[in-house]
């Protein structure tokens, strides 16, 4: 499965799965956020069962909900990557926003309880992890923000994913946004032999197809460029205009 599927591949099912993933991720992050506040309301820790006498019982239902939510984050995140890749463009990166959403919201909890505790004063034991969580959430968000222009429908749509190290199904790093675009109509490397022009034509057609798969070219642009290449090859079968030395 290649990231950045062609637009004609977007189906209602893929969109529905992406929406389910977004709703599920939001629900899980909300429950973790509320569960953390419920635990912090009773001092920041709770324990039940086992060989120890429970000093502080947990809020009813909170441990179960939080446990399910943490697994839900993984499951809905995976679903979001799958559906986002099928939808194509920047949508493959959507679940990545769950990371800053989670850490910034939990960091806010730490900071709120640290700067405005019920007893007054500051609680450094909450403030320090709060600052760390905000940094962990804000830094990736800043990187995503700086790459937002690459992630628009006009761009390759995979820049955010590429910054996270994703690769295409062909194993190439998704760096098409940053690398100079392949020169479709420009001079091609010289080939020797009678079939150099044919090989060059095939290579250029393959490059065109790759650009369409990654979303850099629309179908109409792909067809136009393909026809231009084929017309050029027809006029110049030996590949002279492509720089080949036939």
């Amino acid at each position: 499965m290649a990231f950045g599927a062609p637009e004609e591949g977007t189906s209602g099912r893929d969109i529905a799965l992406l929406l389910i993933a977004a709703a599920g991720l939001a629900a899980c992050i909300t429950i973790v956020f509320l569960g953390m506040r419920a635990v912090m309301d009773i001092g920041g820790a709770c324990a039940e069962g086992g060989p120890f006498v429970p000093v502080q019982p947990c809020p009813d239902g909170a441990p179960l909900l939080m446990t399910l939510s943490i697994f839900g984050l993984i499951g809905f995140g995976g679903l979001g990557f799958y559906a986002g890749a099928k939808v194509g463009g920047p949508w493959v990166s959507l679940p990545l926003l769950g990371w800053p959403a989670l850490f910034l919201s939990l960091g806010w909890n730490f900071l709120e309880y640290g700067f405005w505790p019920e007893g007054g004063g500051w609680v450094w034991g909450w403030i320090i992890p709060g600052v760390l969580f905000v940094i962990m959430g804000a830094v990736p968000l800043w990187f995503a923000w700086t790459a937002r222009h690459e992630a628009t429908p006009g761009g390759s749509g995979v820049a955010v994913a590429s910054t996270m190290g994703f690769r295409t199904s062909e194993g190439r790093a998704l760096r098409v946004s940053y690398a100079p675009r392949p020169s479709v109509a420009g001079p091609a490397p010289a080939h020797s032999g009678a079939t150099g022009g044919d090989r060059d034509l095939v290579a250029r057609l393959e490059r065109l197809a790759h650009l369409r798969r990654t979303g850099d070219l629309t179908n109409a642009e792909f067809e136009t460029a393909k026809q231009a290449l084929l017309a050029e090859a027809h006029r110049d079968p030996a590949g002279e205009s492509g720089g080949t030395g036939a």
Partner: protein, 33 residues
């Protein structure tokens, strides 16, 4: 089928619905926050 133009709005609505449902679920199960 091309990506619909309303997809960003639909994702935002899905996020809002997911958060609201989770908030209500937590209030019911865990007694609120």
């Amino acid at each position: 089928m091309r990506r619909p133009a309303w997809l960003p709005a639909a994702v935002l609505i899905a996020v809002a619905i997911g958060s609201a449902v989770a908030w209500a679920l937590f209030r019911v199960v865990a007694g609120g926050a």
